[in-house]
């Protein structure tokens, strides 16, 4: 308690001294962003028929699923009474921006992502069901819902329905992350959050982080499997990454310029915070290291004629920096928004525990968990079996 008070500079309302939303909320926003971004990349191939990114289509869907399954966990861990969270489904308070999360999440998970993956994999699942023995046979049988109809007609139907789902899925992915942005952007009491740009900035940063993640996962998978990276594929993904990043950065700069020029009552307080307590995470990590550097690297691959090996390395570095930058952005929004007093007269400090309920250790575990799930999903539903390609 003494430590908390020592971390205060100026005046905070007494109830504000302790931060309410922790690292886990940062993680929740980061993870939902990765889901939305990965899904949108997958949709590119399906809806807009971008053939070059085809090798990542299924991998992107599985990545989105792995992260989506983990997305509610940091929230649950954060709640004072996780057991009561189900009340959000039974008695949602319709005026609350947060109340709809459960429904948006379930819609996205069950109606869009799981169904789309299932339809896309159904032929493979049935074939693996027929080929496998023992417990694997049971798993694939269950996954096929014990229906082995893979006639041409049935597969054509799957494909049509899958395409329709993707078309519904894109606005759903936009909804999922735009909505997460709205939860913050609609808090009028907090000038650091309260901006109508918040949902759209979050959406674009989500697309950026999701594309970077899928690109890295694809490169890592190629390395693990000792296969050559399809350069046409990663070149295209990297180009999309750069475009999305430029839009995202422009939106953030618009927000910044607007704040600086308008200079409302909160400006001096927020400006001082960015120059002091948030300087490292906002200016150095988010903007310079996590935004300008990767954009410069990606731009270099466009401007100069570089060999495949150099490009691969540049994409790798740019991808990692992008994820670091977007994570820093989530941190700066969530944590930064609680470091200053709503009286605009002071600042507090965020201290992370290690092996506490909302500490660093659970955060690391939650960040690794989607990769473990992805590994299982990839083992179960290999995204790269060429003999099981989709018809037509």
């Amino acid at each position: 308690m003494e430590g908390l008070l020592q971390g205060v500079q100026g005046f905070m309302y007494p109830n504000e001294i302790e931060l309410q939303w922790s690292l886990l909320i940062v993680l929740y926003r980061f993870i939902t962003g990765l889901v939305a971004g990965a899904f949108i990349l997958a949709s590119l191939e399906r809806v807009f028929n971008v053939q070059a990114v085809k090798p990542t289509y299924r991998l992107a869907l599985l990545t989105a699923l792995a992260f989506l399954l983990v997305a509610p966990l940091p929230l649950q861990l954060h709640l004072g009474h996780p057991g009561r969270s189900f009340e959000m489904y039974l008695t949602p308070h319709t005026a609350s921006a947060m109340a709809m999360f459960g429904f948006v999440y379930l819609w996205y998970l069950m109606a869009v992502l799981v169904l789309e993956i299932w339809l896309d994999y159904r032929r493979d699942i049935v074939l693996m069901w027929r080929e496998s023995r023992g417990w694997r046979r049971r798993i694939y049988g269950a996954l096929a819902l014990w229906s082995d109809n893979i006639s041409d007609e049935a597969l054509r139907f799957d494909d049509r329905l899958g395409r329709l789902l993707t078309i519904i899925g894109i606005p759903s992915a936009f909804l999922l992350h735009g909505y997460v942005g709205f939860i913050f952007g609609s808090v009028k009491a907090n000038p650091w959050w309260s901006t109508p740009l918040m949902p759209i900035v979050f959406l674009f940063s989500a697309i950026v982080s999701g594309i970077a993640l899928v690109m890295l996962v694809y490169m890592a998978a190629a390395w693990f499997r000792d296969r050559r990276i399809d350069m046409a594929c990663v070149d295209t993904i990297a180009r999309y990454l750069m475009y999305a990043f430029i839009i995202d950065f422009s939106l953030e700069m618009l927000d910044l310029v607007h704040r600086v020029y308008e200079a409302d009552e909160s400006f001096k307080t927020l400006d001082f915070m960015v120059r002091t307590r948030l300087y490292t995470s906002q200016v150095l990590v988010q903007i310079i290291l996590g935004t300008l550097a990767p954009i410069a690297l990606l731009a270099a691959t466009q401007v100069f004629k570089l060999g495949a090996a150099v490009r691969t390395r540049l994409y790798l570095v740019a991808g990692v920096l992008t994820l670091v930058g977007i994570f820093a952005m989530r941190w700066n929004v969530v944590i930064g928004g609680q470091l200053f007093s709503k009286s605009f007269l002071g600042y507090t400090t965020y201290k992370i525990g290690f092996a506490t309920r909302e500490g660093l250790l659970p955060a690391i575990v939650l960040m690794l968990l989607p990769f473990a799930i992805l590994w299982i999903l990839v083992k179960l539903l290999p995204p790269w079996r060429p003999d099981h390609a989709r018809p037509g």
């Binding site: 309302y13 001294i17 009561r84 008695t91 609350s96 808090v187």
Partner: protein, 254 residues
Amino acid sequence: MNTTRREFLGRSGCLLVLSASAASAWEAILAGRPEAAESYSTAAHWWGMCIDIGKCIGCGNCVRACKQENDVPLDPTFFRTWVERYHVVPDDLERPLVDSPNGGYDGFPERYQRDDGSKNFFVPKICNHCAASPCVQVCPVGATFDSPDGVVLVDKTYCLGCRYCIQACPYGCRFIDPRSRTVDKCTLCYHRITKGQTTACCEACPTGARRLADFKDPKDPVHAFLRDHPVHVLKPQMATHSKVYYNALDGSVR
């Protein structure tokens, strides 16, 4: 078993609808009726508070009385009501020096000289029981609600502990009680005012700086108070329809 897909879907649909309705009915039965004194009618009251800044001496009686009456944790980061001390150089309203050691629980040690040309005063703070509360708006399950008589209350058996309401309150009036892991705030001593008593903080105030107000009671002195004094609410730009009115609120107060 011969069940067609149509029958199966039909039956599962019925089962789902029936169990959902049964669950909601059971919820309603379990929720019961709101607690209130027998003779008390919520429709006859509309509660708020008047605070006379000129009368507050920063003794901290209200803070102590509140913590005792409502079993508020004694830590210096949990308060249903607290008192702030303002030290303002008259031509610099933008940068007042504010402190609230332990929320004013122990009173205020002398800090500023009396004749240095500055303004010095105390500002008691409490939930504003806003008529358009952002905290009520954002609660995902409706655990925070407006009572019909204008008090913002929390159902602690229903609160998830998500803390969205704490983020939404512009005045910093809410906290998580570490014992129940649910949100806590001023109830305007609802257990007292529904029995015809005043709040613990008002009762403990030696100078009458805080007064409970019933806006629906035509005989309540609040009407004269609002008519005769230059009153204001905190952060009017937040448009929360605050029902805590301050007399002689200085422009430097946040």
